[in-house]
Amino acid sequence: METQSLSTEIRRSKAAAARQMSVAQRLSAGLRLYTEQLCVVRGFVAGMNPDWTELQVDQEMDRRRRVIDLQNTKKYYRAAPEIPARQANQS
């Protein structure tokens, strides 16, 4: 319960910050955030493998990106059932 109220509080705080941004700012923020995350991860990969060349770090990042791409393209969508109009009107 405590964890849930904390997560609700965090979301409210993030929502308040998001409201200060314009639609246009929010629209492209995701692309920028993704690039920033990649930079951070690249820094970790290079730091954990100080003997690697830039090319080896790039190759490892490409490998990780392929793994994520593979997960993202997995089609495991839950198809919401269509409800006949008559039944929907009754509920």
Partner: protein, 184 residues
């Protein structure tokens, strides 16, 4: 590996579609970011009225900047087959979906709105906030439901819930919507 973000690819594509009058809208996490709490997104999904027309425009307007990926996947919800195109300078991938005959898909395309964006373009077409909520509820993956929560949290009072509920009743997702609204 390039660390340039996808904005350039999206901007080039949008300019090309505008020039060749290709009706489109940006969907997926980029569109939910526009109304909710932005989160990192690696890909861009775009719905076009006609895939063939979109490819003609790309081949005519940006022949060397985009290449088509032969990979075709079947998307379960609307039965459409998205095509992946890759922005050559940065290897950024964009998934193109053809507008399906699904009633809701048709409706949200007709209701789409344009947003002025300093980098992406003057008229960037995206679904309305209500239609983003409806579609994400329909997908129903944990990440989609989290996005719905974010959109509701940011837009709360400005959303037209009577419109949303018309579709969620139809899709059988009203209970999920109520659960999310009550949790905000």
């Amino acid at each position: 590996m390039s660390l340039v973000d996808g904005s350039d690819a999206v901007a080039r594509l949008i300019a090309c579609f505008a020039k060749f009058c290709v009706p489109y809208m940006i969907v997926g996490s980029l569109s939910s970011n526009a109304y909710g709490i932005p989160r990192a997104t690696a890909d861009v999904d775009v719905v076009v009225e006609k895939l063939e027309r979109a490819f003609e425009a790309i081949h005519e307007g940006l022949p060397s900047e985009f290449r088509s990926n032969p990979q075709i996947e079947f998307e379960l919800m609307t039965g459409t087959m998205p095509r992946v195109i890759e922005f050559v300078p940065t290897n950024f991938k964009i998934e193109l979906f053809e507008l399906s005959s699904d009633d809701f898909d048709q409706s949200r395309f007709k209701r789409r709105v344009s947003v002025q964006h300093s980098t992406l373009g003057d008229n960037v077409w995206i679904p309305t906030a209500e239609d983003v909520v409806i579609q994400k509820l329909r997908w129903g993956r944990p990440r989609d439901l989290s996005d719905v929560g974010d959109v509701v949290a940011v837009q709360y009072e400005s959303l037209d819930y009577s419109y949303i509920q018309q579709w969620t009743d139809h899709h059988g997702t009203t209970d999920e919507l109520m659960k999310i609204r009550n949790g905000i």
